[in-house]
Symmetry: C2
């Protein structure tokens, strides 16, 4: 499509390759081949291989940060906020699974200053999530177990959902949201 910039196409193709083999194992020649062009031609659109990674990861990290801020401004209960966060992660998984793979696995290959920025954003996100859980515990909505175990259990499931979602193929998003909320909040027993 003519409105899709060539640079976006490159970033999109590259992200698919990064998801399969990881950033370090993908060469600019691989990306060029996927674009059906020569490696040198890529450099009319991008500054470096690393720039692609920066765009993928930092744009997505901002989506998570924005989503968290919206949830924090809701008037709902902590439990409803956690439901909203589960839905946020599922929406991102469905729409941006390749960038999610890069964010999870390849953030340490960002330029040094962006590693610092990324880690700060991630820690802030986790801290906000943790505070919602603690609020739920103090209101008696959530069982008073280690908040850290609860936080980790929910986040690790949501963060790796991208590995599993497409293997199971196009499960209806709303069914997935309902089942994930049920399993993560109310358990399986």
């Amino acid at each position: 499509m003519s409105t899709t910039s060539r640079k976006s196409e490159i970033i999109s193709k590259a992200s698919q390759l990064f998801k399969e083999k990881g950033y370090s194992a993908v060469t600019v020649r691989d990306i060029a081949q996927a674009m059906e062009m020569k490696a040198a031609s890529l450099y009319n659109h991008i500054d470096s291989k690393q720039e692609i990674l920066s765009i993928l990861i930092l744009d997505l990290a901002r989506d998570f940060t924005d989503g968290m801020h919206q949830v924090q401004q809701m008037k709902n209960s902590p439990l409803q906020k956690i439901e909203a966060l589960i839905e946020l992660h599922i929406d991102i998984t469905v729409n941006q699974s390749e960038a999610l793979a890069a964010l999870n696995n390849d953030w340490m290959h960002l330029p040094e200053n962006e590693v610092v920025e990324f880690v700060a954003m991630r820690e802030s996100y986790e801290e906000n999530f943790r505070n919602i859980i603690k609020e739920g515990i103090s209101l008696g909505q959530i069982q008073s177990r280690h908040p850290e175990v609860i936080l980790f259990s929910i986040l690790s499931t949501l963060r790796t959902l991208y590995l599993w979602y497409q293997k199971r193929g196009k499960l209806d998003v709303n069914v997935l949201k309902r089942d994930m909320v049920a399993v993560l909040l109310r358990g399986i027993v």
Copy 2:
């Protein structure tokens, strides 16, 4: 100092580096530096960089397979079997977190025939786990939700526990087992 123990040292140091940056981003010079020797000297102990990865991943995959077979032979209920599997994963996380990182993230860089072998082992492991969940559902011990969502939720939490366990450090293993079982089986509400 025998050649065999030197080889184990190399594999151990390499696994730490693989965990930090991923297999592809670690060079044999990095491994040599961690061993305080020159890269060429490594080759008196190993055949290739890839051999290190093969040993790390396939040895650990066999540990999981053996653990699953032991659980299957227990006379316990499905729920108790799932508890035993949670404990298996936690024990492996505590004792072999570096190899676990390689198994999770770098299996696709194994030689081709070993990729096939690994994927078969992983699928068999998941199938056995799924059958225990289904048995629990049919006995009324486990809620009759999509077994796939339950399987994924538990496995993804256990598989990425290594990322989190040492950051929180010093958490007693038995406390961790008790809390993880509680959260994963009975939820947080």
